[in-house]
């Protein structure tokens, strides 16, 4: 039981904005500056209202023989302090909307350079990832083929599914580790087979609930190579805290090498290049929503 006093008092001497973990995504900076804008407005309002509150408490403290001012209010004042906050808050709302649509609206999701499927799972607590394999095409997902051996429900009759690369937790205390390339638009199709999870990449300012029965698109574009943590932000059971994963952002070259290595590890029998299906890779999209 150790106690570091200066770290414990960080809240008292460090500015709130310095607490953000490093941002490494393209739209993260915009979200951070929106936060900062609201923060500065809040700090200003805080100091103004507290100054008034404290001044009134001191100036108008009880004094024998003094009588308070008999006054019921003033409509002009009411209008003023209705309209001022309305403009301020409406401004914040309208200003926010662009960043919101950019990160979440389907029509603003850019063309993906890399697409992966991600599932949160509860039995053992962690994340499962699916890459499309050398043919660049995901096998179709069929809900009634979902099982713990085939969590994505890859259609056993679909030839594109045969080479799909599924990465699961290595077991034990070691977190699952996946790689993605930097400076590429990454599209994540997110879902779950059991309960709600929330795919949280603190450094990328990405958070999206994973909902069973529904594939939700999440995108980001990482700007800096490195090792980042994946967390779960929605209560999913007693192991909720233990859903840590690692996301390694690589250069395209390192990413390709890693993918190749994984492929040899997981699917040695298929590791010989698939002859003509690479041509299909350009059309790399599957019907993401199957049912529900």
């Amino acid at each position: 039981m150790s106690f570091d006093f200066s770290k414990a008092m960080e809240w008292a001497y460090k500015d709130m904005l310095t607490f953000f973990p490093e941002n490494v995504s393209t739209f993260g900076g915009e979200l951070d500056s929106l936060f900062a804008m609201i923060y500065y407005a809040s700090v200003a309002i805080f100091f103004i209202t507290y100054a008034i509150l404290i001044a009134f408490i001191i100036m108008y403290r009880h004094q024998e023989g003094r009588k308070a001012y008999y006054y019921h209010g003033n409509n002009l004042m009411e209008f003023t302090w209705t309209l001022l906050p309305t403009f301020l808050f409406a401004g914040i709302g309208l200003w926010s909307d662009d960043a919101w649509t950019k990160s979440k609206y389907a029509y603003r999701v850019p063309n993906p350079d890399v697409t992966i499927d991600v599932l949160g799972y509860q039995s053992g607590f962690g994340w499962q990832f699916r890459y499309p394999g050398p043919d660049g095409v995901f096998g179709n997902k069929v809900r009634n083929q979902i099982s713990s051996a085939n969590p994505f429900g890859i259609d056993s009759n679909d030839v594109h599914g045969k080479d799909d690369l599924v990465i699961i937790s290595p077991g034990g205390a070691r977190p699952v580790e996946v790689h993605l390339p930097i400076n590429k638009n990454v599209l994540v199709n997110l879902s779950s087979n059991d309960v709600l999870h929330s795919f949280f990449l603190p450094n990328f300012r990405v958070k999206q609930d994973a909902v069973p029965g529904q594939w939700i698109k999440v995108w980001f574009n990482g700007t800096k190579a490195g090792r980042y943590e994946i967390a779960c932000a929605e209560l999913c059971g007693s192991g909720h805290y233990n859903m840590r994963g690692l996301l390694i952002m690589d250069s395209q070259q390192d990413y390709d090498a890693w993918l190749d290595q994984q492929y040899k590890l997981v699917k040695p029998e298929l590791s010989a290049p698939v002859s003509d299906s690479t041509a299909v890779a350009a059309v790399a999209s599957d019907s993401t929503t199957t049912k529900n």
Binding site: D4, K7, A8, M9, E10, W11, F19, F20, P21, I38, Y39, S42, Y50, L53, F56, I57, Y60, H62, K67, Y70, Y71, H72, M77, E78, W81, T82, T86, A90, G93, W100, S103, Q122, S123, R143, N144, I146, S147, S148, D194, V195, L196, F200, P202, R205, K207, Q208, V211, G213, A231, C232, L235, C236, G237, G239, H240, Y241, N242, R244, K291, N292
Partner: protein
């Protein structure tokens, strides 16, 4: 019920009430246990909720201990708790999840709502509108007597092998319905407490609309009554939706429906075999349960239904507090409430907008992002009436003559903390900003600034303010101030740093944050918060001690100890069943403080106008009587 009311009028309405014993031979049980007297019911709500406040507080401290010193034995009690809860004296992950679920549920449904609505609604409404009792006293009694069984049903979960509910206070499916019997007790308990709320709320509305004293117009009622009236409307509109959602989740759990459950779920083996589907072997030991029947359900539907109630519930918890604070501030600033009608309209606006903002809890839930834009704008609009209220309170103390009683200190603290809670709300109202801070400690900080800093300080204020009328004894002011200072300082030291943890990305509801590298640096701050929280928790014993001490040794309260204007102070110091010993007639609004034509700085609502009629007509809200 009509005849019971008429009877009550007959026996209590007109004759003197100095001594009730001689013409009332009410048994002990009818007088103190199954009483229909609104004041006794209010005290029962207070005692039950203060009990649950300590239960919920204990849960919070166990959670805090784990966050500060994960895996280390809880001091004093760690080694005497059963093995299903702790291992080596430290909370297990499973028990931790139960604790955070029940901390939230108990504090919201068994502490804040029963205190703010049950206790003050019952105590204040009949007295402040100058009547003898509620319109439906028996219904009122039932509304209280659902609370203890409901609360105990929920707590029994801790003694099941599978433990208490562990799906968070929001009970999101599929986690909710796929967990065990603890969740069932949670659902039944909420269903019952919802019934209690509805019974109380219909009663409040009936009472306020039908039983106001002669001459009391709606726009002459104190803000507390107005706030409770609008809260009652919120409860009657919102709670049935929660009841429906609870029924649906129970049906999903036991009747093989799938309102919220998609097909082909692979959920962990539940402890009750009533769930449909097949068990399949997985790995060596883990049983897995695959739900085969049903399907087609939508987990997000629960979130819509739940938040359609639970967002207005936030206002159910805060509006009575806003009413109480308005009355306390005006009384102790010796000034008319600034913008009386604006305050009422702001409450109405909050209540109305409160029903169209629920989606801001769901920005990251997977609902259509277009709705995100809609709910962001409606949420941001609701900040406006809250701002109006802040400005009007500041206007109220402006040029006042402020007395710093314990009640008023708590009311001023309400304003101070509500400013912070309101401002932090703007961050999460902005949907893109919410992406990052959603489900982090920033949210935890916000809700505690609003519900502890806001609602609970207002409740403390109300307790200090009305205690003399409740028990006929004054609370000890010096102890009251000590309780206030300790609570206020350590409240801020506990919850302010949580904003920063949230900005650091610290998720809520995690048993051990330090498995994440980016959170390891925050253990010292978590330890600081825990120490502050422990002191905050123990400071509440000052309040309990004060109540017990004052009941025995407190000064006898006069009829109107605060020189206030509203009607409850016309009643005897310790009113019996039937409340008033005089015929109440109302001549003016409740905020005629420091009237320039009067020598005293207050002018009670019930005091007959003296001298020339002109004086009366000069006051802004004069009586319509002649």
């Amino acid at each position: 019920m009509q005849s019971a009311t008429a009877h009550a009028h007959e026996t209590h309405g007109h004759d003197s009430h100095g001594d009730h014993a001689h013409h009332h031979d009410v048994s002990f049980i009818r007088k103190y246990v199954f009483s229909t007297d609104h004041k006794v019911i209010a005290k029962q709500f207070m005692l039950a909720s203060l009990f649950f406040l300590f239960v919920g507080g204990l849960f919070a401290l166990l959670i805090r201990w784990q966050l500060a010193f994960p895996g280390e034995a809880i001091p004093l009690i760690g080694n005497i708790l059963p093995d299903t809860w702790v291992s080596d004296g430290a909370v297990t992950a499973n028990f931790y999840t139960q604790l955070l679920t029940l901390h939230g549920t108990v504090m919201i449904f068994y502490v804040i709502i029963p205190l703010a609505v049950g206790m003050f609604g019952n105590f204040c409404i009949p007295l402040m509108i100058g009547t003898d009792d509620m319109a439906l006293p028996r219904l009122n009694m039932y509304s209280f007597w659902l609370v203890p069984p409901a609360g105990l049903i929920m707590l029994t979960g801790f003694f099941f092998d599978s433990g208490a509910a562990a799906a968070g206070w929001t009970g999101y499916p599929p986690l909710g319905p796929s967990s065990g019997a603890g969740q069932t007790t949670w659902l039944i308990s909420l269903f019952l407490i919802g019934f209690s709320s509805i019974m109380g709320a219909t009663n409040y509305m009936a009472t306020i609309l039908n039983k106001r004293a002669k001459g009391l117009q709606m726009f002459q009622m104190p803000l507390t009554v107005w706030a409770l009236f609008i809260t009652a409307i919120l409860i009657t509109l919102g709670t049935p939706v929660l009841a429906a959602a609870i029924s649906m989740q129970l049906a999903d759990q036991y009747l093989h429906t799938s309102f919220f459950m998609p097909d082909n779920l692979l959920v962990g083996a539940p402890d009750n075999s009533l769930l449909t589907g097949a068990f399949v072997q997985k790995g060596n030991e883990l049983l897995e349960h695959k739900q085969l029947l049903g399907g087609g359900g939508q987990p997000i539907l629960w979130q819509h239904l739940f938040w359609f109630y639970s967002h207005p519930a936030v206002y159910i918890m805060i509006l009575p507090g806003m009413g109480i604070v308005s009355d306390v501030l005006a009384t102790f600033a010796r000034k008319p409430l600034y913008g009386y009608k604006a305050m009422i309209f702001a409450i109405m606006a909050i209540a109305f907008l409160g029903f169209i903002v629920w989606g801001h809890h769901m920005f990251q839930s997977g609902m259509n992002p277009l709705l995100g834009t809609t709910f962001m704008l409606s949420t941001i609009v609701i900040a406006v009436p809250s701002a109006i209220k802040i400005f009007n309170w500041l206007g109220t103390i402006w040029r006042g003559n402020i007395r710093f009683t314990a009640a008023n200190l708590n009311a001023l603290a309400f304003i101070a903390t509500f400013i912070i809670g309101g401002l932090s709300g703007v961050f999460m109202a902005s949907a893109p900003v919410d992406i990052y801070i959603h489900d982090t400690y920033f949210i935890v900080a916000h809700i505690h600034y609003v519900l502890f800093g806001g609602a609970l300080f207002a409740i403390f204020s109300g307790i200090y303010y009305w205690f003399p009328k409740m028990y006929g004894k004054m609370l000890n002011e010096s102890l009251g101030r000590k309780h206030f200072y300790w609570s206020f300082i350590f409240f801020n030291l506990t919850f302010y740093p949580m904003h920063l943890l949230g900005v650091g990305g610290h998720m809520r509801r995690i048993y051990n944050p330090y498995i994440y590298e980016f959170l390891q640096q925050y253990q010292p701050m978590n330890q600081f918060i825990t120490i502050a929280a422990i002191i905050l928790g123990f400071s509440q014993f000052i309040l309990i001690f004060n109540i017990l001490w004052s009941l025995k040794y407190g000064k006898k309260a006069p009829r109107n100890p605060w020189q206030a204007n509203s009607l409850e102070w016309a009643a005897p110091a310790h009113p019996g069943h039937g409340n008033f010993d005089t015929d109440i007639r109302v001549y003016r609004g409740p905020y005629e403080f420091s009237h320039p034509d009067r020598e005293t700085d207050f002018y009670p609502q019930w005091e007959e106008p003296q001298g020339d009629e002109k004086t009366v007509h000069e006051t802004k809200e004069h009586s319509h009587s002649a």
